[in-house]
Amino acid sequence: MSVNKIAPTLVAAAVATVLAAGSVQAANEASAAGTAKAAPPALAPLGEAPIPPDNKSTPDKVELGKMLFFDPRVGGDASTGCSTCHEPDQGWAWAEDFSRGYPGTVHWRNSQSIINSAYFPRQFWAGSASSNEKQAKAAAKGGVAGNGEDDIMEARMAVIPEYRERFKKVFGTEWPLIDDVWLAISAFERTMNTTGKYEVPLDKYLKGDKSALDEQQVRGMALFNGKAGCINCHNGSLATDLDYHNIGIPPNKRWEEDGLAQVTFRFEQYAKGQTEEGYRAAKSDWGFYYRSKNKWDRGKFRTAPLRYIEYTAPYMHNGVFYTLEEVVDFYNAGGVDEEGRTTLFPENKSKLIKPLGLSDEEKEDLVAFLGAFSGPEITMEKPKQPPYAPLFTKAELEAAQEEK
């Protein structure tokens, strides 16, 4: 492994363990056990997606989840479903800086791809949901996302005969229950991974197919693991340490120009439980702070995974970079964009982020290597929406009327 050339011998053993086990868990344990000085776990191939024991996968459940994922009736006004902001043709994400949001609103963060979401123990940019199930529920209900309420969404399922049948078959309930909607959607999402025929070139390479990367990409990998220091956070089999860092992302300028985005900006401060002073003063997304309420967490976001990124532009929690070249330039400048803008919390900026001194050729190599994190595009024909139908016949209603 080329990584051995640059990894301090101190952690060689840990890296070897990770590679041997080839599991997320081992990588996390290695990370947790390591000291600040220890080198991070090496990149490793993506394993099988974990399936939680409380939501076992069955083909029928996955099929139902797929229908629900694409069904806009799982939302407030029946016009927004999961796929509305996680659009297959846009990397199962949304190709604008901010996710499109509920009608009459715009979101304030970039929509993340559902591809490989199965692997992450927490979802959302600040990790506020602890499972796919909780993410699906939170997104379907959020004021600037799905804006749906449990009762109306559950009621809708009940007047769709095909759903009644399918929920009964999958979950054994007389009527569809809203919490089972999240279970089914999550079961579907857990099948949407860069494995099998969608395996990315890097994984082929890491499994021994040396032809999977070209020479430029191999050079880029060396930079990734070495001079550029990407591996410090983008490591292990998920290419993320699953931790939260302030890397210096500047606020999105759209907040200065777009009234609708300003509405949502304040709503989020309000909804996420800011202090009054925080609500008044905030001019950027405080990220992990909203969960921890520690000032040193302002501007921290979870290290993004890198697989499938070819399809998921723009990048970062607020989508400020539209190309990987811009991303590399940003890191090369030490977490500063081309206009010299950076985080509003420089005191929290990770010490790992500093000017890299990459040459143009090195930057190109690095971008080429980032390309190895994406394989074939994952596409899918959208399922047909099963129609509504009356629950009762006229004769039944007439009989009930007679009985009154």
């Binding site: 006004d77 009762d151 304040r266 009356p390």
Partner: protein
Amino acid sequence: MVVRVTTGRALLAATLGLGLAAGVQAADSPDIGPLPQLEIDKAKAELGKRLFFDKRLSGDAAISCADCHVPAKGYASEKALSPGYPGNGHFRNASSLVNVAHRKVWNWDGRIGTNLNDMTREMLTEDYIMNMDMRVMQERVKQDPVYVKMFKDAGYGEPSNGSVRKAIPEYMKTLTSKGSPFDAGKMSDSANKGMALFKGKAGCVQCHNGSMMTDGKPHNTGVPENFDVFMDPMNHQAFIAFTMFQGIPNYMNLKRDPGYYNITLMKEDMGKFITPSLRELKYSSPYMHNGMIATLADVVEFYNNGGGKDSNKSDKLKPLGLNDQEKKDLVAFLEALSGDELTGPEHVWDKPFPAKYEAIENWTQVRN
């Protein structure tokens, strides 16, 4: 919605229970008569008017209060069943809002017995009605400089959810009947005869009494179910969501509107609805909680037949034996309870709303 608070079932039941007891004790029904005057704060009412007609007060910014409470229809719904929020239908007819500030209990099933502030919150936040997350609403309102000024001028300071819930009720106070022949003492002979029947032979005054012509209490008159509630899945889903949220047993199999049963869960309250006011009926057809009766002549016919069929039906209702002329006189009286249309600019916000939210200038430098 996240911020909704439901009126305590027991508390409300107790309040209404006291009312019922008092009503039973009264030997005679309170007489019908003119409405008391209300004090109105002009600036607050003006603000409430703009809010009432603003589609940005619904979740997807597609409907305003006025979409179900149509000014030309006496601020009631045009159709038998209200349209509801986009993506679903509804299961009841939106009541007229004219004189709504004079009421003591709101909703056909009487589930709000506190004040119009609570009622406003309920309408804004219910998912099948306006589905508004009030935190989003507050920030939308704050984004509009016209509102910022109006809230300030009204003495509310910075726009807030709480002030929205105060300003809309203030506006609703302006929706008060005026100029009805009944109030003006200028009824036709036929209407005067109708009034005598109303208080006498027809017995309407037993429930339709006081200055609002309602006892504010629930009764079962046997109005037939509107099958569109159940045959149209859009309406039925709203009905299911409502009955589910209210905690009504066996809601998936319900084939009738439970009405006041929602408040007490007592079988004898099944199918009872709060007596509606009779003012402004000229504009607010169709009638009854589900819009099942199209004209006032049909309403009179309905009562002349002793109401509809229901084992819970009020024993106050029996066939009246009115002849054709008496029925006409009664209709004439009912029509005489309607005043001027409240469709002028003093009641209807007729200026355009901004097509987009203006950005706050110098955003990075000013406090939110």
